[in-house]
Amino acid sequence: MSLTPHENSDQTLWEVVEKLHAIVEASPLAIVSLDPKGQVRMWNRSAQRIFGWTEDEVMGRPLPTVPPDRQAEFGSMVQSQMEGRGWLSGFETIRIRKDGTRIEVSVWSAPLRDAKGEISGNISVIADITDRRRAEAEKAHLVAREQAARAEANIEKRYRELLEAAPDAILEVDSRGRIVLVNVQAEKIFGYSRAELIEKPVEFLIPDRFLSSHPADRQKYFAHPVRRPMGTGLDLSAKRADGTEFAVDVILSPYDAEGESGGRVICVVRDISERKLAEEQIQTLNYHLEQRNREVERANRLKDEFLASMSHELRTPLNAIIGFSDLLAEQGDFTTKQKRFIGHIRQGAGHLLDVINDILDLSKIESGHLELKHEDFDVAEATTEVLAAIRPMATTKNLQVMNSLSDGLSLYADRLRFKQILYNLLSNAIKFTPSGGRVSIETSQIRGDTCFCVADTGVGIPLEEHEVIFDRFRQVGITTKGVREGTGLGLAITKRLVEHHGGTIWVESEPGKGSRFYFSVPLQAGRGETEGKVEASQAPLILVVEDEGAAQELLVNHLEEAGYRTATANSGVEAIRQARELLPDAMTLDVLMPAKGGWDTLREMKRTPATAAIPVIIISVVEERKKGLALGAAEYLVKPVSKELLLEAIGRWTKTPARRTVESPE
């Protein structure tokens, strides 16, 4: 930088200028000034030092330090300063030196005004911050390296912790079979300190009885080292410091340690003595359980065999008694007295058969083989049937039987089983009520359940017996005949039947004051009042095909009583014509018929599209179910067919009709 003193300047001014010049030249920062045309007007010594160009090389020339990629930035800066704006304060950018290297700089810059206040260029102070940047970068690098080293140390610590915290014992064994590393769990399960284990041969931990073979096994393993997982079925044992043995599972995993030939083996050893103990206990328990199961199975089988042979042994003599008394009864030439005797024999035998069937029944219920066939039925009608069956017993003993059931009561339950419950309770009541007494049936509704009560004026039951009378083979007291009657199974069966229906049974009684047996039948959930019922006019139509008049009439009666509409046909030919015309909802078909037999009729029905879908229920004297079903029959019933079986079969294939109200004949 050079200053040319003004011609008219005085001495003092010159001194000031010289002082300023010295300051500018001594500045450690580059000081550069540009004229309004952007040409260098001032270039101090530090500028030369930083950028490499001498004052002579740059004076009056455009600034050479701006690299091409910063020209735009620089241009706009200079322009705004020439307009009096654009202060820069510590602006960091890139400049080039004379030798072409790029340096980082920090720039302070401002517009420069003359005495008149006109813009006369700018002034910039520039610091070379390349060294500072390098130092910063170096420091960052050092910090990162330090962090990495710390992290590495942490990982190693973590691995160490993992090793020590492992729930299994971990040992490292070198190619000579010496222990070179152990963890805490290894110390714990073997009962040695680390110092006691290191450098010891691995046989140190092997029970004596395996010692002779282990070194050979080990050498064999090192010859063919493979990973051997736990639970490979080997029954392995290890030895503790105190000499005791314990069951272990071992994983062996070979690996090549750096700079060592022959490799090493990682052994993971798990103490499984507790598991072994538990396994042994389970085995013992299983064994006992199996034994017990076998005994139970055997007992069950014996029970079934006993029931089967009992049934057989009793049925054979019963066959003779019932068969011959029936044959006798068919021969009309007897006195009234003789006929009554035959009747007694027949009735007694019938009762005995009931007992046998009771036992088989209870056995079936208890083994879970009982299936209830639920249906809507008229209670009064079912009760009348039961009363008809027990009335002879009541009449013999001169007992009054009262039926206080309300008309039109209907139940959704297994009709046969309901009758069985009622029969059992009524016959019990009769058995235990002295001559001249009274037996009655009542009904009530309790919280939606239908509740029945069979009451008598009999001997009564002491309070402490109210529960046990429902057990098997438990009979309380003696009947009015002075003897035990029946098998003592009636109430047991009755209780189970009630409970199978979801109901309960109980008794209210005192000795000498008669008994009241109650049982409830719950309303079936989800069953509406009208569900499954149809108006009489829409009742399903059943075509009854039967050539024998009496049999036909019986079938029609059964069906109409249950609310079905019926049509009849007396031959196969007529049946096919009727089926085409009426398109019934179902059809019963006799097999033996004139003018086209049942089989041909069935074949033709199934061949004809119009009638193929009509369910055909075969009713035959002969058991040829397979043939019937193969020809397309829906059901196969063997004569004589009970009303229940018939309605059940028809019910499976048609809608349930609205049942007629049956007047109680009581």
């Binding site: 003779a320 044959l327 033996l592 035959s620 004297v621 058991e623």
Partner: protein
């Protein structure tokens, strides 16, 4: 009149069935075990056989198996008679080739009807 073989080791049972069948004007041939039943069947060539299942020497099962394997008897109507009334027995008996299955004590009207039907079907 038809010839009917009745095989049952219980003499009273045989007499009962004989009585029922003779009442329907049939001729009855009796056998008291399975072997005798087979011999009498071959000798008399009856129109129908009633076999008790539980019999000594040869039981009813063995007899029906032998009969169904013999072309001469493959179509003979045979009624099984048993005092066992356990579930599933009926199906087993029918599967073996019996034409009907009756449990003791016999329901006489039903037995009569079944015999009549079987005889009618086997060529009246």
């Amino acid at each position: 009149m038809k010839k009917i073989l009745v095989a049952d080791d219980n003499a009273v049972s045989r007499e009962l069935i004989r009585e029922v069948l003779e009442g329907a004007d049939h001729e009855v041939i009796e056998a008291s075990d399975g072997r005798e039943a087979l011999e009498k069947l071959r000798e008399h060539q009856p129109d129908l056989a009633v076999l008790d299942i539980q019999m000594p020497v040869l039981d009813g099962i063995a007899v029906i198996q032998e009969l169904r394997a013999d072309p001469g008897f493959a179509r003979l109507p045979v009624v099984a008679l048993t005092a066992y009334a356990m579930q599933g027995d009926r199906e087993k008996a029918l599967a073996l080739g019996f034409n009907a299955y009756i449990t003791k004590p016999i329901n006489i009207p039903q037995f009569r009807a079944q015999v009549a039907e079987l005889l009618a079907r086997s060529g009246g």
